[in-house]
Subunit: 341 residues, 2 copies
DNA sequence: TTGTATGCGTTATCAG
DNA sequence: CTGATAACGCATACAA
């Protein structure tokens, strides 16, 4: 087989047909004689023909591609979401181009720009840790290209969003701790600029006040939830206290597992001396000792949903773009790290 | 701003220039007057111009896109690799289109075909669990499109591969157990059709025989390493034995952590009654109790390497395609699950 | 430094 | 059922 690309003209010439007919045959157009189709397909296969998507896209002004921007690829939650997106998109004949913002606004901005130039049919985004200014999404909004946010979504932009009820999740997690008798509850979370962290935080506070527990600022710790951050936080902001808190609500299972591990090393019994509650229901929460109580965050399902919505929007381009917020269920999963026996 | 797409012709007309000049100006072509460039850029920005990649690709016969096919997106190892690929590719101005084979040969085949039609500049692949027939890659080979495999690589195809020395890793893991005094070592692993599992298995066997331990077939267990498989395996093939084995070598940390958790529930003390060694050095191996001894598999670095190689191949298309195998280091990480104190 | 002309491969329209 | 033709938007060889 040679390196030269075969085009419909090559096929047409060899078959004594026009390029138009070959094109139609290849698309299984109903108006083409089935004998003709057979011949075309046979020769196409024989000569190693492959359709040229650029030419086709150029002509059709559509790419069958969906852009995805996530903060990082390598977290259990995000990879579940991506898996769901890929599966759904692929089933519907879409490709996905994935890029990471690496939690940087500048990178996110440049990624958005790239996807814009690539003329993705839709863009799916979870915001970076630090994004303040949302102007870079304006190009998609102006051109009315479907834009769907999930998990870390902007408040200021009028676009479809898929989330869980983070306020409620934060409330329920805290409520559970209170019900188990814990009162001095430290909340360790990410930048409250982002809805996910802010809403959980609000839920936490509300649960406290609803139960006549005073919210104390020193019980609110905000960092990037990385291994280093958790290590430093536990060592410098928890273990140094004269009176240890009796529970930690950490908004990420990986961090919670890591914290649990450090606390145990330092002789803190879990949950008798200190309870821990995480977030996400990653597998890691099921292998620590004790297992970690957490909030089940349906990542894969979120991926499916967000992809489905994006594709629906592509298909119904004509209809007025209905902006909506989809809220998926997230429920408490009680395990050993919060329940004394 | 309107929905209409602006082209270089629109810009040219408004500026009283030719499309060619605008095209060159936009690319910062050296032969264009800098005043002209300024005017072009200004108007382009003002009118919301965006370059049309299809037209450009169609013209240039290059996509600046790399296709990636992985068995699944959502494993800690794979998401690290993907993260490394994305980072490297993005730095070099390439987009990545990711698809999952979901461990199915048919899906992999169709993914390869899609990437081929998308005219990716290179294809990066880790094989599905069940792929036997490698014919679907022939199209890439025939057209001399760079094809790079990593982790689960084919033996029969003459293409560049990036791997670790799985034989050696298997040997060292087993050797470590032997040195710690364990003799009845069960190896739980994936389909030995795949190099990664086969080579580790060979390493395991060699370590045994090198130390005068008889390899027994009933100590070799092969399954898909899923949670269910591990659960069943531990319950039906380990705990039912009259004489329990004294060590498990499981080729995946997630599975190892899960196995450890189950064994502990059943009253088996780790490592005094049974040792466990995993594979990958995922975070999960550091939060179980005891922590799990494992082989450090440099996923992120593998991603960087494989992307770098793919891009080098794209750039040096002229040179005879040198097929090589790159072997990254993977070393033993000793932790509590194998060392009695 | 800029312009002219052309082709990249496909598909839609219109005509037969 | 099939063909001729004209775009789609850009980049380049060649001319000026």
């Amino acid at each position: 087989m040679s390196k030269k690309e075969i085009t419909i003209y090559d096929l047409a010439e060899k078959l004594g047909l026009s390029a138009a007919t070959v094109s139609r045959a290849l698309k299984d157009h109903p108006a083409i004689n089935s004998e003709t189709k057979k011949k075309v397909f046979a020769l196409a296969k024989k000569m190693g023909y492959r359709t040229n998507k650029f030419a086709s896209n150029l002509r059709k002004q559509k790419t069958n591609t969906i852009g995805v921007i996530v903060p990082r690829l390598n977290s259990p939650f995000m990879s579940s979401v991506l898996s769901g997106i890929e599966k759904t998109a692929n089933n519907k004949g879409y490709n996905i181009i994935i890029s990471q913002s690496l939690e940087s606004e500048a990178k996110e901005r440049s990624n958005v720009f790239t996807h814009f130039n690539n003329r993705v049919d839709a863009l799916i985004v979870s915001l970076s840790y630090e994004t303040d200014n949302m102007d870079h999404f304006q190009s998609f909004i102006n051109k009315e290209i479907p834009l769907v946010f999930f998990d870390r979504v902007p408040e200021s932009i009028n676009a479809t969003k898929v989330v869980i009820d983070n306020f409620r999740a934060g409330y329920e997690a805290t409520l559970h701790l209170i019900e188990q008798g814990y009162k001095d509850i430290v909340h360790i979370t990410g930048n409250i600029k982002r809805n996910v962290y802010k809403d959980r935080f609000e839920g936490y506070k509300r649960a406290l006040t609803d139960h006549n527990i005073l919210y104390r600022e020193d019980n609110f710790i905000c960092n990037d939830l990385s291994e280093d951050a958790i290590y430093n936080c536990i060592h410098n902001q928890i273990l140094t206290r004269k009176k240890l808190p009796d529970a930690l609500f950490i908004t990420n299972d990986t961090s919670a597992a890591f914290a649990l591990s450090i606390l145990k090393e330092n002789g803190i019994k879990i949950p008798s001396k200190m309870a821990i509650i995480g977030f996400n229901n990653d597998l890691i929460s099921k292998v620590t000792e004790p297992n970690i109580t957490t909030i089940n965050y349906p990542g894969y399902q979120m991926g499916e949903t967000v992809a489905r919505i994006a594709i629906e929007k592509i298909d119904n381009k004509s209809e007025k773009d209905v902006t909506s917020t989809v809220i998926l269920n997230a429920e408490l999963v009680v395990r050993g790290s919060t329940v004394k026996r």
